[in-house]
């Protein structure tokens, strides 16, 4: 069990390629922190700096208040799950899980006890004497997890551990990892580019882009109060709709479409040009007093919900409506937006202003 402190962590490659810049984060004991961002945003680099697999160019890393910058991987007492599992292919499942314990000079009976316990938790008992090549993707993933949990390490690091599994298995392993965490309570850093994974697993998530922190918060905070256009667009599936428009005294103008809005729901003291963010689920059909009418371009049935593509003031958007309402492409629909859920961003800085 451990807390972590990352202070102004910076990674520079080849003297001028900045991969991570001034990364500051305090991680409390037992937290499940998810780093999320598009590929190349530096999230894996930070994880590898914490693991000691990459040198820290500037800044300081503390685990349990001990500075770790110059401590080698083997002495950091961390366990890591790699993207491609990185199992030892020449060893059996048992040997894979026992390796770390052997290296740490545990007794044979203790190794046996811990490996069997982990194998029981992960359902690996029947496969202990197989080699990784004879296992399915999901089983290999479990071995990689098993190798980490037998160690009883201070910190778990997971680098996109589910990215090479198929969709169904991914959902299943996701909940297995969550229940594993609630059982072991080990401080965990989990890296993913998948915002659904980030939302469902994290106690707090860190949204990254271009090597810099965009926002740190609980999934709910990040979803409901994104700090900027990047976070708002990255978190949420399907993505948030953005309209560029201008403010008037009593409403909004998006293209040639005017939407009246009560004064209390509009940003004050902002410049006229703004970006308006609306999540697909915050639009609804309203026959009585719709805000606007729009012609449906495409319809996508997802099951309980239907996604419709249409335009508002010549700007495309996606809305999520219940499938119980039959809709055809070409049809004109009366639509409204939940006004109190609209987000407003500065068109220059892209930061949220309201």
């Amino acid at each position: 069990m451990a807390n972590l402190k990352l202070q102004q962590l910076t990674k520079v490659y080849n003297k001028n390629e900045i991969a991570v810049k001034d990364f500051n984060l305090d991680i409390k004991d037992k937290e499940f922190i998810v780093f999320v961002g598009p590929s190349g945003c530096g999230k894996s680099t930070i994880l590898r700096m914490v693991a000691g697999l990459e040198d820290i160019t500037h800044g300081e890393l503390f685990i349990d208040n001990q500075k770790m910058n110059d401590v080698s991987s083997k002495d950091r007492d961390i366990a890591m799950v790699f993207q491609n599992y990185a199992l030892y292919p020449h060893m059996t499942v048992y040997q894979n899980m026992a390796f770390g314990l052997k290296m740490r000079k545990q007794t044979k009976t203790e190794i046996e006890r811990r490996v069997n316990e982990a194998a029981a938790i992960l359902g690996l008992k029947p496969f202990l004497h197989r080699k990784p090549a004879a296992l399915s993707g999901g089983q290999r993933q479990r071995v990689a997890l098993g190798r980490a949990i037998v160690r009883d390490a201070n910190v778990f690091l997971m680098d996109e551990p589910l990215s090479s599994l198929d969709a169904k298995l991914r959902v299943q392993m996701r909940s297995e990892i969550i229940s594993l965490h609630s059982r072991l309570q080990t401080t965990t850093i989990y890296v993913t580019h998948d915002q659904t994974e980030a939302m469902t697993m994290a106690t707090r998530l860190v949204v990254l882009n271009h090597g810099q922190i965009q926002q740190i918060g609980t999934p709910k905070e990040v979803y409901e109060q994104p700090v900027n256009v990047f976070v708002a667009g990255f978190i949420g599936s399907p993505a948030m709709n953005f309209f560029s428009g201008s403010l008037t005294a009593s409403g909004l103008k998006i293209g040639d479409q005017y939407i009246p809005i009560p004064a209390g729901l509009l940003p004050q003291n902002s410049s006229q040009d703004i970006i308006i963010g609306v999540r697909p689920e915050d639009m609804y059909i309203e026959s009585a007093t719709p805000m606007f009418h729009t012609e449906i371009e495409a319809v996508e049935l997802l099951g309980a919900d239907t996604m419709i593509n249409a335009g508002l003031g010549d700007q495309p958007f996606t809305a999520r409506i219940p499938s119980s309402i039959a809709i055809e492409p070409g049809q004109t629909l009366p639509l409204s937006i939940h006004l109190n859920r609209m987000l407003f961003f500065d068109s220059q800085s892209k930061n949220r202003i309201f």
Partner: protein, 225 residues
């Protein structure tokens, strides 16, 4: 027939074979050890001048053996500091000794081991080594328990190839170690001398011996792949 059998079991026939085998085994062991360590080092580290050093290490593979022999004489000759140091240490120069033949074999066989081992180390997923690092293994343990087993195929074929190359070494050995029967007269040199003196029976026997040996070794590499 009797005379043929007599030739096969004669000291004259067997001596170059033993000399060659001894030289190739000692040179092979040294090349396998140094080649594996050097290949792992160069496969993992990046630094200035790396390309130049690697090219120098590979050069003996393409140079004429006489050029390799020339440099060995220059480097270990009586007038060089290395040659003088050896003379001071062992009370005799190294040139025209059994050890000179070993050194010549090492130099020409090294690139084969190095190249094969390096491609083996480059081909493996480096995160497997990283996993061992996080699991608490020291760099030496990673080398022995992870890197070497995972590169074993490439290491074995490199070992066989470099051993075969050491066994077949001729030019540099002749120049640097000479032709001393029972000491530096290797199979290839013995064949050359036999043909030169018109002893075709012995030449044939030695040719058959080395072709058989080399064929079996290359076959082993093939089967391994």
């Amino acid at each position: 027939m009797d005379s043929l059998l007599n030739s096969i079991f004669s000291e004259a026939f067997l001596s170059p074979i033993w000399v060659s085998l001894k030289i190739a085994i000692i040179a092979g062991i040294i090349v396998i050890l140094i080649g594996t360590v050097a290949a792992r080092f160069f496969a993992r580290k990046q630094f200035r001048g790396k390309a130049v050093i690697e090219t120098l290490l590979m050069l003996p593979m393409v140079l004429p053996p006489t050029v390799v022999g020339f440099f060995l004489i220059v480097i270990f000759g009586k007038n060089s500091w290395a040659g003088q140091a050896i003379t001071w240490l062992f009370d005799r120069p190294i040139i025209f000794t059994w050890w000179a033949a070993v050194i010549a074999a090492i130099v020409v066989a090294f690139p084969l081991m190095y190249q094969s081992a390096k491609s083996g180390f480059l081909a493996m997923d480096r995160d497997i080594e990283n996993a061992a690092r996080v699991d608490g293994a020291s760099e030496w343990k990673i080398f022995f328990f992870i890197s070497i087993p995972l590169a074993s195929k490439a290491l074995i074929s490199g070992s066989i190839l470099s051993f075969a190359r050491a066994l077949g070494e001729f030019g540099a050995t002749l120049m640097f170690a000479g032709n001393i029967p029972g000491e530096t007269q290797t199979l290839p040199i013995a064949i050359y001398i036999a043909i030169d003196s018109g002893n075709m029976v012995m030449a044939w026997l030695w040719v058959i011996a080395i072709v058989t040996l080399s064929f079996l070794m290359l076959l082993a590499v093939r089967v391994k792949e």
